[in-house]
């Protein structure tokens, strides 16, 4: 084993180490803890990279199988096994990635029992399941060649599988072309959300064609990397063949994409100078135009480095293409962004690392590449000490003297330990929206009380003291819900009218323990929902702990609210904390929502006063607009805590 390979594996094992604690967190604490997903961005990195790009990267399996078994270009036979292995591992990773991404991963098999054939996603799921089966059968002979399986039973299976190769390949190609294209079709239903530079009624063709090119380039790149890490050599002529074929497909892809835009009169968007247009130009150049153009040069075609460069560009560009469509140019509500969390990125990297390690394991123990692993002339498989030939130049994170197993274990454990330090113990929870306490604003009273022109005006909004305005008075801004119908409330005027200090209890019916004049919002904590106000623990503590039960609960009876003594048994004298309970008994243990509480207090009283003192109070006092002055809405909202631009709700233009 080379020094280089050992370093690579150390890094890969470290990535697995990072993955492990995040995996535990993901399944213990939910999607919200490890991802940055939201209702505005329901699909993130895991769908875009692990699934969308993952499936496309694994396309080499069916493309090379077609090349060799259908078009019978036997000289490419050496690429079949690595390509099928890549596909097999790629699809397994897609399935594993889905387990991370699905909200209810234990329902992943539901498409089998609840098929819904009008869903593109069902078609993708069915094809992926079937194709994964095909890939297992296609690759099984390679496994069965291992000496471990040298038994009669396995030899029979081996012969049978070899005979089934051609039908399997044909079914595999058909399934692949279907779901590769259907991954694009997933976006057909979102014509308004996907940017028109990416959306196309024929997007499925783009996804299929790009997958073919990407598959070829991946096989090319893997072959070059096998040379770097295992000394595996293939004739450059064959790599050139792969690259040229990919270039032709890429040219078709780029041409079709531009033609398709032109045919839909969207070409103007390419040059309109928006960031989306630059992203489109950059993505198409890197993924297709530049690699295809590079292949026009003989120097590039004939050199491994040149071919690898072109392949890398396509791989990068096509991954970018999937990320773009899923995330970057997929419309979100204005102001709602998405960038993957470091844990999402770590999971994606960790899964790739697992795939690469499995690939390397297979290469070393099975006959995948000619002349490497089980296909090597000699060299026994097994754990060899990682002592490189050129030990003089050893550099690395860990001493290379250690045996491979120990070295990798240390890398994985070290990375896992480091990750544990950084992962949060639990994630964010949905934030409650508390009711706002009233805030004091300065305003003036305009017009005589009871007159139709009577109203409260904020001081800073009023022109300098017109006649009839009162001196500035403190007004309470009852904002309840932050951006709802805020109300200006003249507390002092109400105190004066209702009888001075003696009138407090008309509205203020209960205080929190050890508090005076508790704000309404202290108990009426949600605008709509009633809130429990009885705190059992407080009572237990006040009544002497475990010996105090008998104050409320009779012995021998189940201890419930229903069987407990009435609150007024105690709360009737000034000796206890809250002697006044004005509310009906049914409401003692819970406070109604803020809106209901306010309306209950204000509307009831306004209606009664208007009824009983018709000369003094106008009928208008009973109407909504008396307090919720609609003309004043904007003026009041200016004072409320700012909400984001999307605060008006709706789906104002996002990325378009």
């Amino acid at each position: 084993m080379t020094d280089r390979l050992a370093r690579l594996k150390t890094v890969l094992w470290a990535l697995i180490g990072v993955l492990t604690p995040i995996t535990v967190l993901r399944f213990a604490d939910g999607l919200g803890t490890v991802t940055n997903l939201s209702d505005a961005a329901p699909w993130g990195l895991w769908v875009a990279f692990d699934v969308m790009a993952g499936v496309a990267l694994a396309a080499g399996g069916f493309v090379v199988a077609a090349t060799v078994y259908i078009f019978r270009l036997e000289r490419y036979r050496g690429f079949v096994r690595p390509a099928v292995l890549t596909a097999l591992l790629g699809y397994i990773l897609v399935a594993v990635g889905l387990l991370y991404d699905l909200g209810l991963p234990w329902h992943i098999w539901h498409p089998i029992i609840y098929p819904q054939p009008h869903s593109v996603l069902f078609e993708v799921a069915a094809c992926v399941m079937l194709y994964l089966t095909v890939l297992i059968l296609e690759f099984a002979p390679v496994v069965l060649e291992h000496p471990l399986f040298d038994r009669a039973l396995f030899r029979g299976a081996y012969r049978w599988l070899r005979k089934a190769t051609i039908p399997l390949v044909i079914v595999g190609i058909a399934l692949s072309s279907l779901h590769q294209s259907s991954l694009g079709s997933l976006f057909l239903i979102t014509p308004a959300r996907l940017n028109p530079l990416w959306y196309s009624p024929d997007i499925w063709i783009l996804y299929l064609v790009s997958a073919v090119a990407l598959g070829l380039m991946m096989v090319l790149l893997e072959s070059v990397l096998a040379g770097v890490f295992y000394g595996h050599r293939v004739e450059t002529r064959l790599l050139t063949g792969l690259g040229e074929a990919a270039a032709v497909v890429l040219a078709l892809y780029a041409g079709f994409r531009v033609w398709d835009l032109g045919q839909r009169d969207q070409l103007g968007l390419v040059t309109d100078g928006s960031w989306q247009s630059w992203l489109f130009i950059g993505e198409l150049s890197v993924s297709a135009v530049i690699p295809a153009a590079l292949m026009l040069f003989r120097r590039v075609r004939a050199s491994v480095a040149g071919l690898a460069t072109a392949a890398s560009l396509t791989v990068f560009g096509m991954i970018l293409n999937r990320l773009d469509a899923c995330i970057v140019v997929f419309q979100r509500p204005a102001g709602a962004g998405y960038f993957p969390s470091w844990m999402e990125i770590a999971v994606s990297l960790g899964l790739v690392a697992a795939g690469v390690l499995a690939f390397l394991f297979a290469v070393e123990h099975l006959a995948v590449y000619e002349g490497v692993g089980a296909a090597a002339p000699r060299e026994a498989p097994g754990v060899a000490p990682v002592a490189p030939a050129d030990a003089g130049g050893v550099r690395g994170l860990l001493p290379l003297r250690l045996t491979a197993a120990r070295r990798y274990s240390m890398a994985a454990l070290g990375a896992a330990a480091l990750t544990v330090v950084f992962v949060p113990l639990s994630g964010p929870r949905p934030r409650p929206t508390p009711v706002q306490r009233p805030r004091t604003q300065h305003g003036v009273v305009r017009g005589a009380a009871g007159s139709p022109s009577h109203r409260l005006v904020l001081a800073d909004a009023a022109p300098p003291r017109p006649a009839g305005d009162s001196a500035p008075v403190p007004l309470l801004l009852l904002a309840g819900h932050r951006d709802r119908m805020a109300v200006l409330f003249d507390h002092e005027a109400h105190v004066r009218r209702t009888g001075g200090d003696a009138s407090c209890a008309l509205c203020h019916h209960l205080d929190l323990p050890l508090d005076r004049a508790s704000a309404c919002a202290d108990c009426h904590r949600d605008v709509f929902d009633s809130t429990a106000t009885f705190v059992h623990g407080t009572h237990v503590a006040a009544l002497g702990g475990d010996s105090g039960c008998a104050h409320c609960h009779a012995p021998g009876v189940a201890k419930t609210y229903a069987t407990a003594a009435a609150c007024t048994d105690c709360h009737r004298t000034p000796a206890v904390a809250h002697p006044v309970i004005a509310a009906p008994a049914a409401r003692w243990r819970s406070a109604p929502g803020y809106e209901a509480a306010m309306h209950g207090l204000c509307v009831e009283c306004h209606e009664r006063e208007a009824r009983e003192h018709p000369g003094e109070y106008p009928v208008a006092m009973t109407r909504c607009a008396w307090c919720h002055d609609v003309d004043r809405g904007p003026e009041l909202r200016r004072l409320l805590p700012r909400v984001a631009p999307g605060g008006q709700g709706g789906l104002a233009a996002g990325t378009r």
């Binding site: 604490d29 999607l31 919200g32 803890t33 209702d39 505005a40 077609a66 259908i70 078009f71 991404d101 699905l102 909200g103 209810l104 991963p105 329902h107 992943i108 498409p111 609840y114 009008h118 869903s119 996603l121 069902f122 051609i166 058909a174 279907l178 259907s182 079709s185 239903i189 014509p191 308004a192 959300r193 009624p201 499925w204 073919v212 063949g241 040229e244 074929a245 962004g337 998405y338 994630g427 964010p428 949905p430 409650p432 819900h481 932050r482 951006d483 709802r484 605008v527 709509f528 929902d529 929502g593 209901a596 909504c624 609609v630 909400v643 984001a644 999307g646 605060g647 709700g649 709706g650």
Partner: protein, 272 residues
């Protein structure tokens, strides 16, 4: 119930009191409002709020909730049939089928469904037009609660007739369009309004095209495509194989063989 039912919302009658929202929250047992990231406005739809009253300039109010499309994109998108269009009209959700793929959130043309992101067993949350209440013969909670009759319930056909009657009776009061009559193939929740409600959809404008049809145009090609690709591949292999055999036989008869099987295949390079 006679024919598919729906809800008609008259935004000119709405006073923004949110009685519907309160009733909705109570009927669905949603508890206090809780916001998730990406949801800046306290009053936006959330997993704890299936309906909300949006404020437009000039004190206009719009009740936003699931539109219960006649041809729902979410139902078409769901691969396990967890989203279902009932014959009565409401679009309902079955958490026992759901996988949690969130394709419904992606597909909805009105951006309605919400997800319980931080839950251990997250579910999709959205208005069901109080389907359970409808089956008990009750009205949807929002309709029952509305003090101004701005939100009314009935068979969709009759609601449409009523909407057109209102527009015809008071042409100055309404825009001459029933929002939801044709949008995305029609919705069961309809609006008459004095301000454009196009902002409620991602499209941001009228679009009569039902979204599932866009998918189906591609999906219906799947079975034939499978057979054509499979047949084509088998056919190509057979033709090339035959040519190779013929070439080999001719080669054996006359000149010495050049490169054997490896040179075979006059199909040229792949994908040429």
């Amino acid at each position: 119930m006679k024919g598919p039912v729906g809800i008609l919302i008259d935004t000119t009658r709405c006073i923004g009191c949110e009685s519907c929202v309160a009733a909705c929250k109570q009927a669905n047992g949603l508890g206090p409002d809780r916001r998730w990231r990406g949801q800046e406005a306290a009053t936006g739809l959330s997993a704890t709020r299936f309906s909300t009253v949006l404020r437009l300039p000039h004190e206009r109010f719009v009740l936003q909730q699931c539109r219960h499309c006649v041809e729902p994109a979410c139902v078409s998108a769901c691969l396990v049939g967890a989203m279902r269009k009932t014959p009565e009209g409401p679009v309902v959700y079955d958490p026992d089928r759901c996988m949690g793929c969130r394709y419904c959130l992606v597909a909805c043309p009105f951006g309605i469904p919400r997800y319980q992101w931080s839950a251990a067993e997250p579910k999709v949350r959205k208005c069901t037009m109080c389907y359970a209440r409808l089956q008990e013969g009750k009205l949807p909670a929002c309709v029952e609660a509305c003090p101004e009759h701005a939100t009314i319930f009935g068979p969709r056909e009759r609601l449409l007739a009523e909407a057109h009657r209102r527009i015809a009776d008071q042409p100055g009061r309404y825009l001459p369009r029933v929002f939801g009559e044709h949008d995305v193939g029609g919705t069961s929740v309809l609006y008459v309004s004095d301000a454009s409600l196009d902002f409620l959809s991602w499209r941001g404008g009228p679009d009569p095209q039902p979204l599932p049809a866009l998918t189906w145009a591609s999906l219906k090609r799947v079975p034939p495509m499978f057979l054509v690709v499979g047949g084509l591949m088998g056919g190509i292999r057979w033709v090339i194989g035959r040519r190779m055999r013929v070439a080999a036989e001719e080669g054996a008869a006359a000149p010495p063989p050049a490169g054997g099987a490896e040179q075979g295949g006059e199909g040229g390079r792949p994908h040429d």
